[in-house]
């Protein structure tokens, strides 16, 4: 029973990581239909931001607290820069955004290698986050995992509320549903695009901060994550935050269960087979967004 709950929590925590890395993408790919291959490198930027801040701020807890907003802004700013310099010119040509942002991702990886060196680096975790919560029955829940779960849930709630309740959220939804109509209604679509990109990229930065609590930071860490992130968004249904949330946790639990019963590699195969089967049945993803857009 302990094992069952332990595994369930492991699955949920894998899901939380998946959600955190996919959340920004749900915004830029899901809402704006821009295939941003450099999204993984924005995650990396968030991780390295944490590393850099640790060089100057001694307390690991304080540096983590500072890293969250700073990484958000750093990655967000990189996203805006990318949007202004390149993506803005390519909204009508999605395949080109794919190639261009892929090139950008390779450049960013090399840049990271030049600045921080090829070997991966590590950050110190605050003492509080290296321990665990002991529950009755010998079950323990790792504090760093709890923190990531809380961060993912906070981010998804904040994003949902922002999209539903704020004027900006209304404008984003208007542009997503019908860009031309939004434009003639007086919405400054290009400014909305830029803001959306800032938010989406900033969320990748947050994910990067969270990932420093789990493993090493390296120039190619984003490449390993981006496929998982795209899968979550596609299976969840493009343009649907709730789809991403459900799918992230479902895949996390499936992965953990598969791994417990078999091995890590087999579990990955199980997850991919499940995804392929699911997309045969529901090619549009778990949820679909009804739009009035003609495109």
């Amino acid at each position: 029973m302990t094992v069952l709950f332990g595994q369930l929590f492991t699955g949920i925590s894998i899901g939380a990581v998946l959600l955190l890395i996919a959340l920004g993408l749900a915004l830029t790919f899901g809402q704006m239909n821009v295939i941003n291959m450099a999204h993984g490198e924005f995650i990396m930027a968030g991780a390295y931001t944490t590393y850099v801040l640790q060089q100057s701020i001694t307390g690991a807890g304080l540096s983590l607290a500072v890293a969250l907003p700073v990484a958000f802004v750093v990655a967000g700013a990189m996203g805006v820069l990318l949007e202004v310099l390149l993506i803005r010119r390519l909204y009508a040509r999605p395949l080109d955004t794919l190639l261009v942002t892929w090139g950008v991702s390779l450049i960013l990886q090399q840049l990271a290698r030049d600045i921080f060196g090829s070997p991966n680096v590590q950050t110190r975790a605050p003492e509080l986050l290296t321990g665990n919560v002991a529950l009755p029955g010998g079950l323990t829940i790792a504090n760093n995992r709890l923190f990531i779960l809380a961060l993912a849930l906070a981010a998804v709630s904040a994003l949902t509320l922002a999209l539903r309740l704020t004027p900006l959220g209304r404008r984003i939804r208007a542009v997503v549903q019908n860009r031309d109509l939004a434009a003639v209604s007086g919405v400054a679509t290009s400014r909305v695009d830029r803001t959306t990109f800032f938010l989406g990229s900033g969320l990748a930065g947050l994910a990067g901060v969270a990932l420093t609590l789990l493993g090493p930071i390296g120039p190619t860490m984003g490449t390993n994550l981006i496929i998982d992130a795209f899968l979550v968004v596609v299976v969840g249904g493009i343009g649907q935050l709730k789809g991403s949330v459900i799918v992230a946790f479902a895949l996390g639990v499936l992965q953990a269960t598969g791994e417990y019963l078999t091995t890590l590699s087999v579990a990955k195969v199980i997850v991919f087979v499940a995804i392929v089967a699911f997309l045969q049945w529901r090619p549009q993803g778990l949820f679909t967004l009804r739009t009035r857009s003609l495109a």
């Binding site: 302990t2 094992v3 332990g6 595994q7 492991t10 925590s13 894998i14 239909n33 295939i35 291959m37 999605p94 395949l95 794919l98 190639l99 892929w102 991702s105 390779l106 990886q109 290698r113 090829s118 070997p119 991966n120 680096v121 590590q122 110190r124 975790a125 290296t130 321990g131 665990n132 002991a134 323990t140 790792a142 504090n143 760093n144 995992r145 609590l213 789990l214 493993g215 090493p216 390296g218 120039p219 190619t220 490449t223 390993n224 981006i226 496929i227 795209f230 596609v234 493009i238 953990a256 791994e259 417990y260 091995t263 890590l264 590699s265 090619p283 549009q284 993803g285 679909t288 495109a295």
Partner: protein
């Protein structure tokens, strides 16, 4: 834009990512020297040697330090007049933690740079990838890392430990401490899988139970489930054959799960001082390692080696077993060449038997038959200062036995 079109584009994207991942590993970075296309001229006053290590990718954390200590040995030898009166000119290549790249760079060093010997490789996967290249070209590789044994190539000198000099002493130590059961965790490639076959044979013969065995891909950072399995198995100890920075994620998860060195010790065979520093001592304090050398190993030769290394690379840089074995490899090659009186590979091989070197780990002797070396086995405990202190040693150098012929329980292994 329709959703379906988006998905087709995405399929293309995935293919591209896969392609990117593959090509990124093959990126070229030439260090020093580089391709000149000139044949190594042994009649001149220099001799070229190849340095083949991963300077990027998941293995760089370990292999960069090996490169550094090879360079130290090269400089020492050059300062003392070189080999047979010729200065060594190192030619560096980056294997990029990618096995086909290793094979390609080995071919380049041998055919294009015409080096007299190559020093490097870390993972067994990289060694297996370059082995046919060295055998085809009849060129020499000095391989500095402990490995799974069960191999003997006429064109490779193995200066790290084979299993009877590291893994078997590690198991003997666990047994002497009363461990009745172990859990095996390793990276998913040739070294951990073979090592675990040997461990299972040992366990069967010595009344030990293997409670489980799990593998994670190299570079994998998700260890939640594996640590859960280890924890619920209730094993007396964990035998860890993870390589590279997967260890970072594994030990972070291990500590988060409340597992300690006192409750369930982990014996690692691929974590040396440099990795300890990278992973963080707070995650590793009290855990065990099995090696032949530690920075704290006593002796004049080691004091000199440690001092020289720190003088060149910084006082905060620790020395480790693979670094020491790589350093020893260069010196052994020099001794072999001088005994042979030539750089010719066959002559060097013929001269190798019985060559000794007063190494930092203590006296080492080359066994010409297996091309491995006799070395002292040591078990160490990781301290709060990040250094490893010996808790046991074999007392004298252990003769290499790559095929474990002297162990009856190993008879079925191949």
């Amino acid at each position: 834009m329709s959703l379906f079109r988006g998905r087709r584009i995405l399929a293309g994207a995935m293919t591209l990512v896969a392609a990117a991942a593959m090509t990124a590993c093959g990126s070229k970075t030439t260090d020093e020297g580089g391709a000149t296309g000139v044949t190594a001229d042994v009649s001149g006053d220099t001799v070229k040697v190849g340095l083949l290590n991963s300077l990027s990718g998941t293995m760089a954390i370990s292999e960069v330090t090996v490169r550094d200590s090879i360079m130290l040995a090269v400089e020492e030898i050059n300062a003392a007049g070189g080999v047979l009166g010729k200065k060594i000119q190192p030619v560096g290549e980056d294997g990029a933690s990618d096995w086909p790249t290793f094979a390609e760079k080995a071919e380049k060093l041998i055919s294009e740079d015409r080096v007299a010997a190559v020093f490097g490789c870390w993972t067994s996967a990289s060694r297996k990838a370059v082995k046919p290249v060295f055998e085809k070209n009849k060129a020499l590789l000095f391989y500095p890392v402990q490995y799974e044994g069960l191999e003997q190539s006429p064109y490779i000198f193995y200066t790290g430990a084979t299993t009877n000099q590291q893994i078997v002493p590690g198991l003997d130590y666990l047994k002497s401490q009363g461990a009745k059961s172990v859990y095996l965790v390793g990276s998913d490639y040739v070294f951990p899988r073979t090592a675990n076959k040997i461990i299972k044979a040992y366990a069967t013969a010595n009344g030990m139970t293997v409670l489980g065995e799990d593998y994670a891909p190299l570079g994998s950072t998700e260890f939640g489930t594996i640590v859960n399995k280890v924890k619920s198995s209730g094993a007396d100890a964990v035998f860890n054959t993870l390589n590279g920075d997967s260890n970072v994620a594994f030990f972070k998860e291990y500590k988060s799960a409340g597992l300690t060195a006192a409750a369930m010790p982990v014996v690692s065979v691929s974590i040396a001082e440099e990795e300890v520093k990278g992973i963080g001592t707070q995650y590793l304090e009290g855990q065990l390692t099995a090696w032949n050398y530690y920075q704290t190993t006593p002796g004049a030769a080691n004091s000199k080696f440690v001092a020289a290394y720190k003088a060149k690379y910084g006082a905060d840089k620790p020395t480790s077993d693979p670094m020491e074995a790589a350093y020893v490899g260069v010196h052994l090659w020099k001794a072999m060449v001088e005994k042979a009186g030539a750089f010719d590979v066959e002559k060097v091989r013929a001269a190798s038997d019985g060559i000794t070197f007063d190494a930092p780990e203590g006296l080492v002797t080359v066994d010409g038959k297996t091309q491995h070396i006799a070395k002292t086995a040591r078990i160490g405990k990781i301290g709060a200062d990040g250094l490893i202190t010996e808790v046991w040693n074999s007392g004298k150098p252990v003769a290499p036995d790559p095929y474990l012929k002297t162990y009856p329980w190993a008879s079925g292994l191949s």
